[in-house]
């Protein structure tokens, strides 16, 4: 069972006083105390875990965020930031003795700056709302997580979220130009801006993907791109995972970076087809959706090139979309893969490792062996272009012990990803979910260095503690130098 930092009894005992103080900063309904309302925030998208926060605070301005954080810092109160609560790694899981800082009221699009190809938005704006706001100008915001109708841009920044188009267009980190943020001490910083490069250390770069541990994001400047004039997709069936995997490698080796390239395995194909009837071929072992975007001249040329490549790798079927409706139909099954799997199993647990693509067949093969060992089934959807796997482990939370088995199975899959040269998470974040696996990828000096960065931002470890790192940060100890003059030998090596 998940171990979270022990609640600070002294803080809990002062709850009334803390509420009163925070109400002076965020008036009216911005401070939520009642049990029933706090319960609404007890989980994020990793629903296996629930913990009501001590309090919920919903600020509306940067000044309020700053004052809340400064107060919490001075009073030793822990804080967990939250956007829409769609994190799949438990990043926004509250703490029993903590303030849950909901950024949902930061909902305004502040500026659309076409001449500088960017938009300035508040962190609570949803990912999709940005693209919708600029659609009339032929622009869009490229990263498109499947949760885009719900998830916030602040959450995207914290998680460095991706989407099906990120092989070609990048993750959040490649599409954010600037932020305003508040440190745990209440200091307000602006990092980056509308310009391309900023001087000094790239603090914007480390803030993106910092999972709410380094600061609270209060404004985001995102890069806007012109919407590609057109797109077509290929739907390709393969008799084997190997064939599909080799085909993906060959497409890239031919110099083609598709707008999207997604793979599904047999169980995922069956579930998706039963749900949306997209016309997926059910006889094969793997399905590939390859989307090419750009001007018609480019798209038609590449569709033909890719179709020819698929033949070389034994594709048993290959259909090119001939209309926008058909392209969307090809995607419908992939996009609905999670809910489709939800229909065939009471519960599912979504994993997120990345592997070197060439190990795909081997990894899926070993996953099949694990299925037998754990007595649970897996359906796989896969961002094939960048090697990001999403195994969905099917289980039933009402069967005693199944959740625990699913979690152990998931951990084994992630260990396997690391073993073959991959990583624990491609886009969902470490959160609480993979926290205790960090040691499989990183040694002590690696984690110490990460923690020292945390100490520079939040020396008292009050911001989102218990996430990402297996050990709570002990800054005083990490800041000590244990070596002394005269004890290290002068290096005896070639000089010039």
């Amino acid at each position: 069972m998940l171990r979270m930092p022990a609640p600070d009894q002294a803080v809990l005992a002062r709850r009334g006083e803390i509420v009163a103080a925070l109400r002076r900063i965020v008036p009216g309904e911005g401070v939520i105390e009642s049990e029933a309302e706090r319960r609404a925030f007890e989980s994020d998208g990793l629903t296996a875990y629930a913990q009501a926060p001590m309090l919920v605070v919903l600020p509306q301005t940067t000044a309020e965020v700053s004052a809340v954080l400064a107060y919490c810092q001075q009073n030793g109160v822990r804080v967990v930031p939250r956007g829409a609560g769609t994190s799949l790694s438990g990043g926004a899981l509250p703490l029993a003795d903590g303030v849950l800082l909901g950024m949902g009221k930061f909902k305004r699009i502040l500026e659309i700056d076409e001449a500088n190809r960017c938009a300035v938005v508040q962190p609570g704006v949803t990912n999709l709302a940005i693209s919708e706001a600029v659609a009339g100008r032929g622009l869009y915001y490229a990263p498109d997580p499947s949760s885009q109708i719900a998830c916030t841009i602040g959450g995207n920044v914290a998680e460095n979220s991706g989407g099906v188009h990120c092989l070609k267009y990048g993750l959040t980190t490649n599409n954010v130009l600037g932020i305003e943020m508040v440190t745990m001490a209440g200091e307000v910083l602006r990092l980056g801006g509308k310009q391309y490069d900023a001087g000094g250390y790239d603090l914007l770069g480390v803030m993106v993907g910092s999972e709410g541990l380094l600061g609270v994001v209060t404004e985001v400047t995102v890069r806007l791109l012109p919407r590609p004039p057109g797109a077509r997709a290929l739907l390709v069936g393969f008799p084997s995972i190997e064939g599909a995997g080799e085909c993906v490698a060959a497409i890239i080796a031919a110099g083609i970076i598709p707008g999207g390239m997604e793979m599904m395995d047999k169980p995922a194909i069956a579930a998706a087809e039963a749900f949306v009837h997209a016309g997926y071929p059910l006889d094969g072992e793997a399905l590939l959706i390859v989307e090419l975007d750009g001007c018609a001249a480019e798209v038609d040329h590449l569709i033909a090139t890719v179709a020819a490549i698929t033949e070389r790798f034994g594709a048993t079927s290959c259909r090119a979309s001939t209309s926008e409706a058909e392209r969307l139909l090809f995607w419908a099954g992939r996009k609905a893969a999670f809910p489709a799997v939800g229909r065939i199993s009471p519960d599912y647990y979504c994993m997120d490792g990345t592997i070197p693509r060439k190990r795909l067949a081997e990894v899926l093969g070993r996953m099949r062996q694990m299925e037998a060992r754990y007595g649970l089934r897996v359906a796989n959807v896969f961002h094939a272009g960048d090697g990001n796997l999403h195994p969905l482990i099917l289980y039933d939370a009402n069967v005693p012990g199944e959740l625990a088995r699913a979690e152990e199975f998931g951990a084994d899959i992630l260990r396997l990803c690391v073993e073959v040269g991959g990583v624990l998470t491609g886009e969902h974040g470490v959160g609480v979910e993979k926290r205790d696996l960090m040691g499989t990828m990183f040694g002590k000096p690696d984690l110490d260095q990460q923690q020292r960065l945390k100490c520079a931002f939040d020396p008292a470890a009050l911001l989102n503690p218990g996430k990402v790192f297996p050990e709570l940060c002990r800054c005083a100890e990490l800041g000590k130098m244990h070596i002394h003059a005269g004890q290290v030998r002068f290096p005896d090596l070639p000089r010039f």
């Binding site: 250390y201 790239d202 990345t354």
Partner: protein
């Protein structure tokens, strides 16, 4: 002074561990080409990484290349060429732009986070940095990131190392995302001397669906120095827009873009490549420019910035990144002892953005400061971060700011 030239990562770690224990400062050098970038480092010892070289792993279909820090960019380029791939951020690597002799290395390019014309589409060096091994100022070897193109495990430490100019850790081994080289390319040319019209045209092009991968404006004096006939012979300023991709696509977009902008003409692959190399390397177009500022305003503010600069200081310029990068070479006589720092920063304060004194004599870089001065909470945070990586200040001390 001791010059250490370790032959592998373990030896480099030994040197830094010793320096950490003794509090002895090190200047970190790859090939030495960019020694003139940043503030001058005052260190009694040099740690030279040129012998820690070699590509460790490169599988084109995985889009990942892993190499030791001292691998020359020439060696990386040869390997990538053979597989039809590239570093999409198009780093300037041939001589000229950097005052120092020596071959640029992969570690140096990443440490300085440099990027060329394609930055507006593909991002900077930082955007392609997947993972690394390094030794920090504690003398500890450490690693972060990975060898796959998509990874969010832990803080994105590569971003912090890129552009840290070797002040946070000594990079020993780096993994980068590589991409296929476009099948072909071409550039559409416009002529005209008004920077505001040029920036507006570049914005129109960049906001169009024609996937423009680079957009620069060469004022008449710079254009005249180009080796490309159509540019040099224009007799006025030239605005260039590059398109890349499969043959049929480039042919279509070249025509469509030219029509959209009412272009004066266009150039095909070979000339286009020559022009963009000149723009990436800057110096051929600005002659020998003893003083060179690298300014990053919001792109649309470039014309206003130029007005401010020219009102304060005589000098020549070149615009890249659709206006988002302004190279400014002030007349040394007009610039004075601080290289024009006061007036350049005052002009930039009107538009916002970032300034770097890219090329100047050592004393001037020491006195005027190379980067924007640190102020407010950012100053404290930057110092705490530096202390977390390098508590005794032994790695390239002072390269970025006093004490950093």
């Amino acid at each position: 002074m001791t010059g250490f030239r370790p032959s592998d990562g373990a030896e480099a770690e030994q040197v830094v561990a010793w320096a950490a224990a003794e509090g002895e400062a090190l200047e970190i050098v790859g090939g030495g080409s960019k020694r003139g970038l940043g503030r001058p480092v005052r260190a009694p010892h040099v740690l030279e990484l040129g012998a820690i070289a070699g590509i460790l792993d490169y599988e084109p279909a995985e889009l990942v290349l892993t190499a030791r820090a001292g691998t020359t960019m020439a060696a990386i380029g040869t390997a990538l060429d053979a597989a039809g791939q590239m570093l999409a951020f198009e780093p300037p690597v041939s001589g000229g732009l950097f005052a120092g002799a020596g071959s640029p290395t992969l570690g140096g390019v990443l440490a300085c986070n440099l990027a060329g014309p394609r930055r507006i589409r593909a991002g900077a060096a930082r955007d392609h940095f997947l993972g690394f091994r390094a030794v920090n100022g504690w003398g500890d070897g450490w690693k972060a990131g990975g060898r796959v193109v998509k990874n969010v495990t832990g803080y994105d430490m590569g971003k912090l190392q890129a552009g840290a100019f070797g002040t946070l850790s000594v990079l020993l081994e780096l993994s980068l995302k590589v991409l296929p080289r476009p099948e072909t390319s071409a550039s559409v040319l416009l002529t005209g001397d008004d920077p505001a019209a040029a920036v507006a045209a570049m914005a129109t092009a960049l906001n169009s669906p024609h996937e423009v991968s680079a957009a620069a404006h060469l004022p008449a004096a710079a254009a005249a120095r180009s080796a490309v006939g159509a540019v040099a012979g224009a007799g006025r300023g030239v605005t260039a827009l590059r398109i890349e991709g499969p043959g049929p696509s480039v042919a279509f977009r070249r025509a469509a873009l030219a029509e959209l902008l009412g272009a004066a003409g266009s150039i095909a692959e070979a000339e286009s490549a020559t022009l963009w190399t000149e723009i990436a390397e800057v110096v051929p177009l600005l002659a020998d420019a003893p003083l060179l500022w690298r300014l990053c305003p919001p792109p649309a503010a470039a014309p206003a910035l130029l007005e401010g600069l020219h009102a304060a200081l005589a000098g020549r310029c070149l615009l890249d990144w659709g206006g988002g990068l302004v190279w400014f070479a002030p007349d040394p006589a007009a610039a004075g002892a601080d290289g024009g720092a006061g007036r350049v920063r005052a002009a930039l304060a009107q538009t916002g953005g970032h300034a770097m004194l890219f090329r100047a004599p050592e004393e001037m870089r020491a006195a005027a400061g190379v980067f924007d001065p640190l102020a407010g909470p950012l100053a404290g945070l930057t110092r705490r971060i530096k202390a977390g990586f390098d508590p005794r200040g032994i790695l390239n001390p002072g390269r970025m700011h006093e004490g950093i």
